[in-house]
Symmetry: C2
Amino acid sequence: MNYFSSNFKLGILGGGQLGKMLLNDTRKFDIYTCVLDASDEAPCKIASNEFHLGDLMDYNAVYNFGKQVDVLTIEIENVNVDALETLEKEGVKVYPSSQTLRTIQNKAVQKLFYVDNHLPTAPFSRFAYLSEIEDAISNGGLEFPFVWKAAQFGYDGNGVKVVRTLSDLEGLPKGECIAETLVPFKNELAVIVARNAAGETKTFPVVEMEFHPEANQVEYVICPARIDDHVAKKAEDVALKVSKAFNHVGLLAVEMFQTKNDDILINEVAPRPHNSGHQTIEASYTSQFEQHLRAILNLPLGRTDSKVGGIMVNLVGAEGYTGNVIYQNIETIMKMDGVTPHIYGKKQTRPFRKMGHVTIVNEDLSEARRVAEEVKKTIKVISE
Amino acid sequence: MNYFSSNFKLGILGGGQLGKMLLNDTRKFDIYTCVLDASDEAPCKIASNEFHLGDLMDYNAVYNFGKQVDVLTIEIENVNVDALETLEKEGVKVYPSSQTLRTIQNKAVQKLFYVDNHLPTAPFSRFAYLSEIEDAISNGGLEFPFVWKAAQFGYDGNGVKVVRTLSDLEGLPKGECIAETLVPFKNELAVIVARNAAGETKTFPVVEMEFHPEANQVEYVICPARIDDHVAKKAEDVALKVSKAFNHVGLLAVEMFQTKNDDILINEVAPRPHNSGHQTIEASYTSQFEQHLRAILNLPLGRTDSKVGGIMVNLVGAEGYTGNVIYQNIETIMKMDGVTPHIYGKKQTRPFRKMGHVTIVNEDLSEARRVAEEVKKTIKVISE
């Protein structure tokens, strides 16, 4: 099955902002697309050939949708994996695979996968219930500080908390979780690996992430990361090993810590286009979205190096504003050199909701960084 | 009226490939779009918020469509200008203006406009009927060779012919036309000028066009043109003067000849995104489509310089093939460095029909030119 044939259909599970940007590049290649999402207001409702309403966690919704397409991909991990497994058995090409998704959906399983495959990650313990953490502390099996992570359904900084005292555990979800050693680090890095079914592999340059101190969301993504070449090489090698261990097809975004000793530890992975790759749209020879399509359609992969330096700033809802969104001062930032806003099309803002991003490109990365700070100071996502 | 407001609507007359690429950039800015086209299979049918069926030359179709939008633009010149004039009077912002379109739609009027505004163009005579050309030749008022151009409805090399003998006139349309002096030239150049309603103006770099010798369609667009700086400066100055003379808002693509004496003569203009600007998607800081949106929405214009060298190759239907299209060897060209195909989504090919384009970018323009030739030799648009 070849996508250039007239009856080829690509299915996308999830109709959010990542799907929307992916759809943009399907237009370039004239790929017939079907999108499944639970919301009638999903950003993907336009620009897809077919938009289907349905719950991504529902077996029948995912199975019935998947039966209509030739290749099925995702823009969000929380989908019904049993349905994907059945679809795979029935001949649908599912990228990422059900096995990969099952491993990634549960952070405890994901961490065990790294250990089993001799991939570097911070030490951790798995707990079936939050209460077991308290037991471990009281019997000396676990020491403060550590990082609590919910095993499932965490995203954008939810489901992660640094625990320094017993009281930090109050109010956390009661279910399965891990306690990870708090490793002091210099930088948070990410590498996006692309791999097609034929096994061709390419990595985008290592990027550096700066996090908002309160919201625990990425504030700036800087490409390339301002790190030594040998550290960048080490990060790329680790990312390639992870992709290979998963026998992955499509994009795999690997988030990592650079420790004080310049060791690389895997934090977590996302098997799809990722927030840490948005700057590729303007900065790279091939955008991450085009590359994901090339990979899952088993086409040759595109160049992954950068034309220019790129910085990505997330546009998140300002604190104190909930309601119909307004992008205050957007025209001011559009006057700045090399600035491109991407508005995701969500009508309602709320504090820290991802409403869009802004890319800043420049032949000189430090100039891009300066402009990015101006952008950050100027634009504000508020409500009417 | 500001497009960031929730009830803003942008209207586009024409739903072809230019409209499709323009729609792509409206997604980035979350602009609500309405498209009018006569074909139910128009490439713009998806990716627009509203798709309306209707004849672009029909007064009522254009008027009724235009009444529903705040800003109206075009992706093709052959639209009902009377309707646009009424809409302007009734407060719709129409870019390009009805007056500009009226001037451009008729090549005789367009040429007179250049003369009236002291803008350089090849000498010409206007004729109400083809038969008047024969009269002028027989009474010595016109000498061979000259270039015959239909005054109206020519496109993609149709409506233009070099006439060297009386027999070359056989079979030409009988209506209004011009006879233009055949000026020997070194290069065909083009400059795209962007101008917003506030009067801010920017030019994209001068590009050089190589034409297919038989089809009279552009074969390669090379950015930047491989010409002396003083010639490039002269071409930019002429293009800026044309844009100002039209008091134009939006993009104006100015096609020009560089004569043997390095004079610049205007060939013709297009008041919209243009084939000579497709490489801006990959090569420029701002694509021509984003720039057109910025201009007609009266937003600040983006940077127009290039990140890397860019070449554009048109993908036209091969001779001898008519029917359901196949892009032979497209996977082979996708292996080449910096190559991005753009498939317009037309289901049927026929000889010389524009089916897509391929952009080749590289930090070294001569390397891009080498790859472009490989692309040209490799891919073939044929039928099943």
